[in-house]
Amino acid sequence: MTPRDLRDLVPPEPMEIILDAVEAARPGDTLAFVLPHFPTPLLPLLEPCGVRYHSELSGDGGIIFHIERL
């Protein structure tokens, strides 16, 4: 799956998009987004959604943020 690049969006638009996608996802679905930095402000909002997440460097200055709906 190609991660969706959200780097040219102004905060908190990426947050809205990710939370919306998480809400729409079914258990077992995985999502991936390219972000300019680790999304610290998003984490407190993701926690109640029942997800597992991890990140890796994108290689061009950003990070790829992976989310799995539990």
């Binding site: 040219d8 102004v10 905060p11 908190p12 809205e16 300019p36 610290t40 407190p44 909002l45």
Partner: protein, 428 residues
């Protein structure tokens, strides 16, 4: 250390919202003062109408936005929750409003001693409490990032501003034999450098790269800017005490121009050139730079015309301070509305996006009216007879800002009522 984000510590929306809504009311009041007495500014920067307008802008407009934003930021970014947010809001809000009205009234009624005493009591209480809450919250917070450090310095700057300003109000209120010129220089130095520039710079290092999609500020700047600004303010204060008031401005000019140039460089490299918030910040930084120029010209001229001092004050307050405050408020109000509604776990699709609260066209319109207001103010500095134009522009800006933020808050209120009244609320 990175800032700690604790949305569960966020105070109710009513805490910052009441301050944000008070802002256009005081802006409208300054417009009315300008219409009624603005042409009397010919007497210079110490004429009663200029002093009243300065404090309406500094305390009523900027003070309210800053107080609301600081109380919100402190709770969420520094993780410093409030035990009684409702009581805290009232204890800062009403004294601040009453104090602003009393102070402006004191200037406009020929330096009424009674109104100065009332203003002193209210503002020392309201702003002193705000500074203490800010200091206490930051001391207890684990956050040690550049913004939190600058907020701590800004709290000291606010306390000094209140101390020197309050002493002057006491001089007028009780006819105390104290040196007004020195107090005035120290008050302006603490307010402009220690409070306004420190707070805006502290916020800028986080929000400019984040919201305007610019390169980050250099790491060395992030480490040193807040102690360097504090040092510049201290050097300026020492120059005032030593009897060299002209030298006092030099550290301020250097610090402000350096920050403006660095921020302009970031903004030029923004990946969102059409963002209205970027336009506000660009305007603000150009105004800050221009303010240093007018200040320097005023200092160089032996018999400086009132124009230079008036223009410096206008560019600092209306140009730099208000541009940053209005630009960020267009981001803060929709985000807080969205965040508080999100916490209610609304049904999917029921919560509008941030643009649903204040859209980009409303922000762009706000910037255009703001620019007209700023230009009208500069015209007024040169020709005080144009005060009616500035008064009308001020009323128009108050209307545009009040409409945008009031509409967003009304939408928030309606949606909140709808979510709470839904039969399946609270969701399991």
């Amino acid at each position: 250390m990175q800032p700690v984000l604790a949305y569960d510590q966020a105070p109710p929306f009513t805490l910052p919202a009441r301050f944000f809504l008070a802002m256009p009311v005081w802006l409208a009041c300054s417009g009315l003062v300008c219409l009624a007495w603005g042409s009397q500014a010919e007497a210079g920067r110490f004429s009663p109408v200029v002093l009243a307008l300065t404090h309406l802008l500094a305390l009523g407009v900027l003070g309210n936005v800053m107080a609301g934003a600081v109380l919100q930021i402190l709770a969420v970014v520094a993780g410093a929750g409030y035990r009684h947010p409702g009581r805290l809001g009232l204890a800062v809000f009403w004294p601040l409003q009453l104090g602003v009205g009393a102070l402006a009234g004191a200037f406009l009624t020929g330096f009424s001693a009674l109104l100065f005493r009332l203003a002193l009591a209210c503002l020392v209480w309201g702003l002193g409490l705000l500074a203490l809450v800010l200091t206490r919250g930051l001391l207890n917070s684990p956050a040690r990032d550049a913004t939190s450090r600058a907020l701590a310095f800004a709290a000291v700057g606010l306390l000094c501003t209140v101390l020197f300003g309050g002493t002057m109000a006491a001089v007028f209120g009780w006819a105390l034999p104290l040196p007004m010129t020195g107090l005035l220089e120290l008050h302006m130095l603490a307010a402009a450098l220690g409070w306004l520039l420190m707070l805006v710079a502290g916020v800028a290092v986080t929000v400019v790269p984040m919201f305007m999609l610019t390169p980050a500020y250099p790491a060395s700047f992030m480490r040193v800017f807040s102690p360097a600004l504090a040092l510049a303010a201290l050097l300026g204060a020492l120059a005032v005490v030593a009897g060299w008031p002209r030298l006092a401005a030099l550290p301020a000019i250097g610090a402000a121009a350096g920050f403006a140039l660095l921020t302009l460089g970031r903004l030029q490299a923004s990946r969102r050139p059409a963002d209205p918030a970027r336009r506000f910040w660009l305007t603000g930084m150009l105004a800050l730079l221009l303010a240093q120029l007018t200040l320097a010209v005023g200092l160089c001229l032996a018999e400086a015309a009132p124009l230079w001092a008036l223009a410096t004050g206008w560019l600092w307050l209306a140009g730099f301070g208000c541009a940053a405050a209005f630009g960020m408020l267009y981001k803060i109000t929709p985000f807080l509305a969205w965040l508080h509604l999100k916490a209610l776990h609304p049904p999917r699709g029921a919560l509008p996006s941030m643009h649903g609260f204040i859209d980009a066209s409303a922000q762009a319109r706000g910037w255009q009216v703001y620019l007209f207001w700023l230009a009208s103010g500069l015209l007024w500095c040169a020709w005080p007879a144009t005060a009616p134009l500035l008064g009308m522009a001020t009323l128009a800006l108050a209307g545009v800002l009040g409409h945008a933020h009031g509409r967003a808050l009304w939408r928030y209120y309606r949606l909140r009522q709808a979510f709470l009244a839904a039969p399946d609320y609270p969701p399991s």
